[in-house]
Amino acid sequence: MLTRTSVIGAVVLAAELLSPPPAAAQLNVFACEPEWAALARELGGDRIEAFSATGSQQDPHHIRARPSLIAKVRRADLLFCSGGGLEVGWLPLLLRRGGRTVIQPGKTGHLMAIEHVEVLERTSSTDRSLGDVHPEGNPHAHLDPKNIVRIGEEFTRRLIATSPNSTAYFTARKEAFLKGWGQKLNEWNRRAQHLAGMPVIVHHKSWSYLIRWLKLREIATLEAKPGIPPTTQHLESLLKLSRTTPVSAIIVTPFDSTKPADWLSAKSGIPVLTLPFTVSRDASPGDLAKLFETTLTLLESAHARR
């Protein structure tokens, strides 16, 4: 005959087996952009739950408030964003509204990627007549794989500081990730040699880190001033420039307006190349490496065509 305690025991066990592991054991990571959510998943494994506030088709400069966004911020243990003013239009409001102490500026849970890399295009000028210039420098730092290493190391430090019990787990994951990444980086660097000097026109200064890594030649930007839609006069001058200077491709992100690039392409014959720029919002481990693979493959085919 079953005793009462054994029945209860069986029920408790069944409940444990059926329900997912307790949420408290997992750290909640709130990423502003999908690339940081992807990196967090690589390094945090199943001990974190990462969420990205923006998707791959969205310009991270602007987003609209949804109730779930506030809910995610309220539960976050770590905030993982680009920084450098990229999210200035919405993140401060969201942080204030969420009221979560551990992810406020200055806390361990507040990680801004560009504070841990060598920043490009830093300027002391805050003259807004120059356009949407971030005085902190260009914030689009993820497209240099060496930056991924530095930012990933910092993220692991923050993970460990937040959850010291998992030190061994996070350290092992970081080492495994960095080892694999290092091997891929060698292969990418080998492929990059053929791309060096490739002349390109870009829509926005979204690609500066990629361009520096691959040693491409940025001939011009479609936006005369960052963040301000290209003017007709500027496009005309680019058209003139393209007649004297060879250009392999006009590089745009999936969320840039394609009109200026298409206009210039139609007049000059330079192909428009849409590079993925980032991973999907629910990227799984491996997708970050695929982003670099795809970017290289697309650039190689554009380079070969000219």
Binding site: R64, I70, W90, R128, P226
Partner: protein
């Protein structure tokens, strides 16, 4: 989302929505009666233009400076529109509409070279009601309390210059809290819904406005959509329902 957390997310926007609806509904009846429905857009845009100008002139002005300039511009607009009402009573809607597009176009011209000013005007115009926090609610509360009290305390508030002044100051605050679309909808739609439902039209309008805004914020929470556009939709639906099924007085 757990219930308690959902409440904490939804309560500040709900409080703001109810506060705005309480003051807007009776004002909307007056606006509709005078046939000057574009006046809120015009005043919001003129306040926005002044904020843009401050932003291009001074880097990141503080909250008080921004408010001072926005309210000062709105008051100037109030004087202008009162003057237009007296001089050109039959063409005032045309003048008000033209002021709206002029202010909008001037802002675009000023902003052509200043993208962060663009973010500023975006905030002024589109407002993000879900981002409104309790401190913001309490800092704007005195303006609505004063507007509400004045409106019901003396009939004078509903005529002449006092109307334009109270209206300008309230709209300038509302636009920053909930955005211009919700301001327009919460003024005009409740008034439109109860337009043929004398007597006590203003309280019926308040009921429509508050009901629609509470429904809109609640729906936004359950469907996880931005709250502003959702409120506009629920206000329109409320108006259609009230106009269709509401009791009209016997002729």
């Amino acid at each position: 989302m757990p219930g308690a957390e959902l409440l904490e997310i939804v309560l500040p926007p709900l409080a703001v929505g109810v506060m705005v609806a309480l003051v807007h509904a009776p004002m909307g009846i007056e606006v509709l009666r005078r046939g000057i429905v574009f006046i809120d857009l015009a005043i919001a845009q003129i306040a926005g233009l002044s904020v843009v100008l401050v932003n291009t002139w001074r880097h990141e002005p503080d909250w008080l400076t921004t408010q001072t300039f926005a309210v000062a511009a709105a008051i100037l607009a109030a004087f202008l529109f009162r003057w237009v009402e007296r001089k050109l009573p039959r063409e005032q809607e045309a003048v008000i509409g033209s002021c709206f597009i002029l202010a909008a176009s001037l802002a675009l011209l000023v902003l052509a070279d200043h993208p962060q000013g663009g973010e500023e005007i975006q905030h002024i115009l589109s407002g993000q009601i879900l981002f409104v926090s309790w401190p913001a609610f309490f800092s704007f509360l005195p303006i609505y309390l004063a507007g509400f009290t004045l409106w019901y305390w003396t009939e004078k508030t509903r005529t002449g210059l006092p109307f334009f002044l109270v209206f300008a100051i309230v709209v300038t605050s509302s636009v920053q809290l909930v955005g211009v679309y919700v301001v327009f909808a919460s003024l005009i739609l409740p008034a439109l819904a109860v337009n043929r439902m004398e007597p006590r039209k203003d309280w019926k309008a308040v009921g429509c406005g508050v009901g629609a805004i509470v429904t809109g914020v609640t729906l936004s929470a359950f469907t996880d959509q931005p709250a502003g556009p959702m409120i506009v939709v629920t206000l329109v639906l409320t108006t259609i329902i009230v106009r269709t099924f509401g009791k009209t007085p016997d002729r």
